[in-house]
């Protein structure tokens, strides 16, 4: 197994093959499966991602069961269609698709976790722009997902990808870095440029906390995916332009891990700190659950614990 990003880059350089190909080969070996099956499975995941974004941004869009979120991807689509925007059509396409995907997730629709459900909008946001700007074929979009998974697997094994263990930097931060690296590959950059894009994207989001209001994957999760997508695209552009991160990607991952471990529990997906602890956040929680679930809970007998 590839254990570091440096290993991936070295092997890609030595064999003159893209990182997406290296990870497909590893998958064939470890899963006892065939290239055709692995490729078709990733193709199905791509279809789920495309369908989720489409569902969220068309018609009336979707609403979450709590009523806290929904319908904003449709608002963004209308605004973008009107043409008078500040950040331009390309960036807002990413914004629209990232929001749409995470609104569908919050409404209990079907999504593909990339790498998590809370960060499921980041890669679709990036991919929607690349498809448009680079005229990516279906196979190139699948290649993008394989390349992103190679980088994501290293983060998952060397650090963490769960908000409960590492904060949002481990979810949206990881997704953004994966998207940046994969964007460089499908845009024709070098493996080292992918690593630089990854390192810049993750560095930019270090320290991002996980503070969901009422413990729901809605506020601020949905719009944090926008930051993930936009950051991925700008970091990919920086890497393609020849900018470098100075701190190597593997060391950025190690820093992310240490920061995650240092974060207090209240900022790791407990819904107890940050935006969740604001007066409005608490009010929303009381309205939805009718009580403060963090105070009223049954301690229970001590069975089931290690003696």
């Amino acid at each position: 197994m590839y254990e570091t990003i440096a290993d991936l880059v070295t092997m890609a350089d030595q064999t003159q093959r893209p990182i997406s190909e290296l990870i497909i080969e590893q998958e064939i070996q470890l899963s006892h499966s065939s290239r055709e099956i692995i490729w078709a499975t990733m193709g199905k995941n791509l279809d789920v991602m495309i369908a989720a974004a489409e569902k969220g941004r068309t018609g009336q869009g979707v609403q979450s069961a709590t009523g806290l979120t929904g319908g904003e991807a449709v608002l963004m689509a209308k605004y973008r269609a009107a043409g008078k925007t500040l950040s331009g059509d390309t960036m807002l396409r990413a914004v629209e698709n990232a929001i749409a995907t995470n609104e569908v997730n919050a409404s209990m629709g079907i999504i593909c976790a990339t790498p998590t459900a809370g960060s499921a909008g980041t890669l679709p946001g990036v991919l929607s722009v690349l498809k448009e700007r680079l005229n990516l074929t279906r196979n190139q979009q699948i290649q993008f997902l394989f390349c992103a998974s190679a980088f994501g697997m290293i983060v998952a094994n060397q650090a963490m990808i769960a908000g409960a263990t590492g904060g949002c930097q481990a979810e949206v931060g990881s997704a953004s870095a994966m998207g940046a690296a994969a964007a460089v590959e499908v845009a024709g950059g070098t493996p080292q440029q992918s690593a630089e894009a990854f390192a810049m994207a993750m560095s930019n989001l270090l320290g991002l906390v996980c503070d969901p209001v009422a413990g729901l994957v809605e506020i601020p999760c949905i719009k944090r995916n926008v930051v993930g997508s936009v950051n991925a695209l700008t970091c990919a552009d920086m890497a393609l332009a020849g900018l470098t991160n100075k701190i190597p990607a593997d060391e950025v991952i190690a820093a992310m891990k240490r920061i995650g471990q240092d974060l207090p529990t209240s900022l790791r997906e407990t819904g107890l700190g940050g935006l969740a602890a604001t007066p409005t956040g608490i009010k929303m929680k009381m309205k939805i659950f009718g009580e403060d679930v963090s105070i009223h809970s049954e301690a229970g007998p001590d069975e089931g614990r290690e003696s």
Partner: protein
């Protein structure tokens, strides 16, 4: 380096019903493990949550996710959000407990799932480590306690005869750590922590020489 994530589809995937991969899709997977180990009609389910799971299970849909797994649903099954109602309509008693203690298996996303009927009771302590991937760090089968290292796959084999050496021959190259053997009055239970999913033909061979082989 933990190497608990070994497939590209642990990272790009699973395809699932929202809203949280660790608190929803991972919770389905923990329920699924309990279901597969129990493989009998269920009368009662007790779910005990720790740490982040205890704080946010309602908002994340963890309740219906665990019960979906217990009922054997896939994480992308349309019935997932309705699972608690469906189970209660089947006559299954369900209880959720928010335990204020730290996780007994050392992870913030921990659930202990107990399944009960007139004949037996099992408890599975699982943690959802992110992106839908889970670890099973403790299992209690009718009072017999196992402590797997965590990452799946884990293979439990029950046999009336000693078959440790034969299992080693089949699976040793794929061992995450050495085989664990429990010798009981009239049978043996083997716990194998594996690195990768075994080949189907290996499982068929293991089933052929045992009474039961459950792959988690």
């Amino acid at each position: 380096m933990t190497n608990r994530y070994r497939s590209v589809f642990d990272i790009i995937g699973p395809v699932m019903i929202g809203p949280s991969s660790s608190h929803t899709a991972g919770a389905v997977a923990i329920g699924h493990v309990a279901n597969r180990l129990f493989h009998a009609p269920i009368q009662e389910v007790v779910v005990r949550y720790f740490e982040s799971f205890a704080q946010t299970h309602r908002g994340h849909g963890t309740d219906y996710a665990i019960i979906s797994g217990v009922l054997g649903f896939d994480p992308a099954d349309r019935r997932v959000p309705m699972a608690v109602d469906l189970a209660r309509r089947l006559g299954i008693k369900i209880k959720f407990i928010e335990d204020q203690h730290l996780s007994p298996i050392g992870h913030p996303n921990t659930a202990a799932v107990t399944l009960i009927n007139a004949e037996k009771e099992i408890t599975v302590w699982g943690c959802s480590v992110g992106g839908g991937t889970i670890e099973i760090r403790k299992v209690d089968l009718n009072g017999l306690v196992f402590a797997p290292q965590g990452p799946l796959p884990i293979l439990f084999v029950t046999a009336n005869q000693p078959i440790g050496a034969a299992l080693d021959q089949l699976f040793a190259a794929n061992y995450r750590r050495p085989r664990v053997t429990h010798r009981l009055a009239d049978h043996y239970i083997y716990q194998l922590d594996l690195l990768d999913r075994p080949f189907p033909e290996q499982l068929i061979q293991a089933r052929g020489m045992s009474q039961d082989a459950i792959l988690l």
